[in-house]
Symmetry: C2
Subunit: 270 residues, 2 copies
């Protein structure tokens, strides 16, 4: 059966890329602060970068800021990825970056919203509420989740780096739990590329999982260090989301192609 991660691996092979294009219509990026401008921003990015994108990742926050009209735009963005996939003859998965996390009956509603109403293939979730808050998402066997493990921000250490009585750091515990929760090949981890030492530890704790590794580029993470720390032994397992470094380039298509090629080059060296 096709799972989200088998779909992602097929797409990564089809385009020889581990690049995930972030669709973050931050107000600073828009000529006018409107849902129409947010949609145009995203459609343009999709159209330009699709040949090099292993996945697209819209962040819900930048649509919610526009209320109901933002949600209409977000749904249209997911559809547009599907249309671009048809044109290319290779399905590009959509990771909805929403970082949800609630108790079970509420989690069911969030899962239905992300997977059925919006049509996303995967969603980012917080692990803080435990396994039963993740289960409603995992019950969609063809969909996937990325659980927050070690995030890319400076404050991530406040909780995630806390030392546990058994010697692990909290984010290592999350990684180990995620490995045990991955019974159906539908669990991955968010591991910031800004912390390559932490990423190494997470790779030891979760040798088989896909990482979504934000932070390369605008947030200062380095591509080579991330690939060295995070790639699985099969040369996959690492999805690198980039937003501003592509959207702000003079030619986003060229920027995406260059990043794809740079990843390939570094992978060849490792």
């Amino acid at each position: 059966m096709e799972t989200f991660f088998s779909l992602l691996e097929k797409r990564a092979d089809d385009c020889s890329s581990l690049l995930c294009v972030g669709l973050d219509p931050h107000l600073d990026e828009l000529p006018t602060p409107s849902p129409a401008a947010a949609l145009t921003f995203c459609l343009n990015l999709i159209q330009q970068t699709a040949p090099y994108a292993a996945a697209f990742k819209p962040n819900a926050a930048f649509f919610e800021i526009f209320g109901a009209e933002g949600w209409t735009a977000l749904k249209r963005v997911v559809e547009a990825v599907g249309e671009e996939s048809s044109r290319l003859g290779s399905r590009i998965p959509v990771v909805l970056d929403a970082k949800r996390g609630d108790i079970s009956s509420t989690a069911e509603a969030y899962a239905q919203s992300a997977f059925e109403e919006l049509g996303a293939d995967c969603v980012t979730l917080s692990p803080y509420l435990g396994k039963d808050s993740i289960d409603p998402f995992l019950s969609y066997k063809e969909k996937g989740v990325f659980l927050l493990c070690k995030t890319s921000n400076k404050g991530s250490g406040d909780l995630q780096d806390v030392a546990l009585a058994d010697g692990d750091l909290l984010y290592e515990r999350v990684a180990k739990l995620a490995e045990t929760w991955n019974e159906k090949n539908n669990v991955g981890l968010v591991v910031g590329a800004t912390h390559p030492e932490a990423m190494k530890r997470v790779r030891v704790a979760a040798p088989n999982l896909w990482f979504l590794a934000p932070g390369v580029g605008a947030q200062g993470g380095e591509l080579q260090a991330a690939l060295r720390a995070g790639l699985r032994k099969d040369g996959k397992g690492l999805l690198l989301p980039m937003s501003r470094s592509i959207a702000r380039a003079e030619n986003p298509r060229k920027a995406a192609a260059q990043i794809r090629d740079e990843i390939l080059r570094i992978k060849g060296e490792l």
Copy 2:
């Protein structure tokens, strides 16, 4: 200056209540699965229970399930609480139960969505990403946040009960951090009423903070145990959200009045 918690305390005094009416238009509660039915469900609950409600708490998930139309309904729900407040001559705050949590520029967008676009007075957040993910919300000085600490679900222990090297449990660390983050009187904690022993420990770790304590009623938490464990010394500091036990009552107005009175009675005994 008025803060969310001073507003909440005034409202709790005005209606002699610590009851927070949950506005959870779960599909099971609706005659038809539509945003119009969700809105009617909420407007009816607001109208019936407002005299006894210290706050209202819509959960975003049950609106997001309807996409853009759900967001329109959610915004209308927040407005309706404002209208009912005007009728009563006492402002009833709205806690948006959204459990968001993202890095700073994204958190800014979520804060703008919750506080400006939707007009909520307070929002629930995950602490997992650390202080810098909370700051954009705290910069709204007249608004408030409740940080997830010890949640009401069975799986909450997977991470929240993990023993730390310094002897604390993880949720106690969250409570202590929240006390230090509460420089502007705008931070509270989510502490499930289903775990009264944990609530006692959180009260020790965070003697001054308001708790949002779900789980009484439908989830099996007991009112008396929650009040005993969670009330502050001033007889406040505990907001008790209830949803199904009111919405499913034959007469929700009477059910809300009875719960308000029961809380008063138990408080009198303690």
